[in-house]
Amino acid sequence: MDFSFSDEQQMLLDSTRRLLTDNYSVQQRRQIISSPEGYSRSIWRQFSELGLLGLNIPAEEGGLEGGAISTLLVCVAMGEALIVEPYMSSAVMATRAIAKLSSSAQRSEWLPRLNSGTVIAVLAHDQTNGAAAQAVFDDTVAARSQNAWRLQGRKAIVYHAPLADVLLISAKLDAASGTGTGLFAVPRDAPGLRLEAFTTVDGQRAADIVLENVEVPDHARIGGDVSATLPMVLDYGAAALCSEAIGVLDKLFSMTVEYCRARVQFGQPIGRFQALQHRMAEMLMHLEQARSMAYLAAFWCESEEASRRAAVLSGAKVIIGRAARFVGQQAIQLHGGMGMTDELMVGHYFKRLLAFEVRFGSTESHLQEYAARFLEPDRDGL
């Protein structure tokens, strides 16, 4: 057991925080969100310069090869700053998918460009990962014909798809073409591919993807049958999302405590009122339990032990999901009317937590999943 981070990891966290403190003020964030692109190319470039985009790229391919623990720390910082850039989508999930699943030719094709930030990639799998919720669409099919693949179907609510240069689309192979699931790198401007874009509740760009006879060459297929390997990438992403949520919770909690120290009513700071003090103590307890599970998720998300990995990730989604709801709601409540305004950041943090609760399987679906798999007499916990 060791809960400390290496000096390198600590430096990575510090420099990420510094970058975001200097370049991602509330005002800058607001401008980025209302810009046509919906993200900042300049920040993205700086992520690249700091090596953050290569965190999930092997050293031999020019990356930092930080692994899950480093990714945890960086995502915490991203959550603290409430970024809308596609870090988790592109630099964590899509990059990891390519690094882990693709051929060496494909790696050479994509990884340097992902590392330099010249390409943004987004993984589009079924919305709802692993757990008991139902996928909105589950109808994407790939058919083989003349050294090419033809994709047909839809993908729901793909975060950052409108920002992507390339989409990694999972599809069931049709009977004539083989078995299992294929993963295909599809340029966003491929003929037949249409995005139905929207802004999410937490201020990010996303889209449904409609595929009508989209043709990609053979070499666009990444890996073989990814049915067994894709879940590892998704769990890695889920762990990263959990880490981001810890950053969000941390920040939201500390700004709430700060507000209660400063806000004076009835002649004293409202933080002197015992009922509010106890509320904040309860928020802290949620936060610390959530942090424990985020650590555990980061530690287990690379494991090949699928069943235990799934249990830890379900557990993390449950504990952090409950923390998200409680801390989020109480943060608004303790800010009073100010918490209801778009002007203060508290509402924005609140909405990011709301999105966390349903992404990658809802709290409830993970709870049921956990119960279904792991409740047997004489088991001794994880």
């Binding site: 139905e196 509740v201 009835f266 509010l276 009317g337 209801m340 305004t341 709301l354 349903v358």
Partner: protein, 396 residues
């Protein structure tokens, strides 16, 4: 003890239903049932329709043009209106300033303002809270300095609901800065068109603009528009707040929302099974349904007990807390019901993942969840209400 409505009460209820069926405009009803943002003109139209029927002010005594209905009848009227999807009448004129005018206003004020509130000609808004005086209202800073027959008002009000449409505002202002906080406050009626008033809408976290900040920069208010005595405004303010709390129960709105939630749960699927059949969801829904049934009785008990009192007692705080808890829990359960469909929030064209027919509907559920966080904050936060219960009911 008899816990059914009497034949007369049922007849009254039927009469209200028939009226609503015949007179509530379909477009207004649909906007309301879809949970859309309130449209000012809808509120005005509906007030005119009610007024034409003689039902413009259910809670007023007959002498001022009210209905003279009993408390139970008023409850039934509110219930049926909410169930039918009628837009809520604005409380600021009807249920806040009007009771104050009836009790403490002079005949000229009563004769001028009350009929115009009733007809909907005057849209009123509230000038109580300030940036530094929310829960702690007595610390308000807006100053009113006497200058002959005028007060000159300077300061800032916050959390003003729908004031962008208002014709008049009732304000608490400090007329004696040297007195103790709760002394030295006066109650003024101010024309929103008076020079020196600036209204700035506040964008809320759901993207709407239903509250405002209002600045007063040397606004001249005739002394004739002061209600009651100078420096006695705190008395009137408290009287008003007592009335405000009592009107928040909103059993009808909760019942309508719960009905909508049941419909959503019947169509949302989990593993191919309607959510309404999923044991955990069912139980949460059942719990809320029962809670609301109990609350309906609790509300009626408080109404019946208050029947002979001038102003509602501290029991109104119980109603305020429970009403808002139930509404928030329903909105939370709605959010949980739609799952990932809560994510798409604004779009030029609805994405396919949210069926086109449900887009408006579902995207409003998330907005409402966000918006409803306010329920436990405004009208005296639920923490303040618990203080009231502890002090005034439990004598702690």
């Amino acid at each position: 003890m008899y816990l059914n409505y009497t034949t007369e009460q049922n007849r009254f209820r039927e009469q209200v239903r028939l009226f609503l069926r015949a007179n509530l405009p379909e477009d207004i009803r649909d906007r309301s049932l879809n949970g859309e943002e309130r449209v000012a003109e809808d509120i005005r139209r509906w007030q005119r329709i009610l007024h034409a029927q003689g039902w413009g002010a259910a809670s007023w005594p007959k002498e001022f043009g009210g209905t003279g209905w009993s408390p139970i009848e008023r409850y039934l009227f509110d219930l049926e209106c909410a169930l039918a999807g009628a837009p809520p009448q604005l409380p600021f004129g009807l249920k806040m300033v009007a009771p104050v005018l009836m009790r403490f206003g002079n005949p000229r004020q009563q004769q001028y303002f009350l009929p115009r509130i009733l007809s909907g000609e005057h849209w009123w808004c509230q000038g109580y809270s300030e940036p530094g005086a929310g829960s702690d209202l007595a610390s308000l800073k807006t100053r009113a300095v006497r200058d002959g027959d005028y007060y000159v008002v300077t300061g800032q009000k916050a959390w003003n609901t729908l004031g962008q449409n208002a014709d008049w505002i009732f304000c608490l202002v400090r007329t004696d800065p040297s007195a103790k906080p709760q002394r030295g406050i006066s109650f003024l009626l101010i024309d929103m068109r008076a020079p020196g008033i600036t209204v700035k809408p506040t964008t809320l976290l759901d993207g709407t603009q239903e509250v405002n900040e209002i600045w007063f920069d040397n606004v001249r208010v005739p002394v004739a528009n002061r209600v009651g005595e100078e420096n006695q405004g705190w008395t009137y303010a408290k009287y008003l707040l007592g009335h405000e709390r009592a009107n928040i129960a909103s059993v009808g709105t909760s019942r309508r929302q719960l009905r909508q939630l049941q419909r959503i749960a019947a169509t949302q699927l989990r593993h191919g099974v309607p959510l309404l059949r999923e044991p955990r969801f069912r139980a949460r829904l059942a719990q809320l349904d029962i809670e609301l049934t109990a609350f309906e009785i609790t509300t009626l008990r408080v109404i019946a007990a208050d029947e002979n009192k001038a102003a509602p007692g501290p029991e109104a705080s119980i109603l305020k807390i429970k009403a808002t808890e139930i509404l928030q829990q329903i909105s939370e359960l709605m959010l949980d019901a739609i799952g990932i469909q809560a994510l798409p929030f604004s779009a030029a064209v609805p994405p396919s993942s949210v069926p086109r027919s449900e887009w408006q509907h579902l995207s409003r559920i998330t907005a409402q969840y966000l918006n409803f966080r306010k329920l436990s904050i405004y009208g005296g936060s639920n923490e303040i209400q618990k203080n009231i219960i502890a002090h005034l009911i439990l004598d702690l």
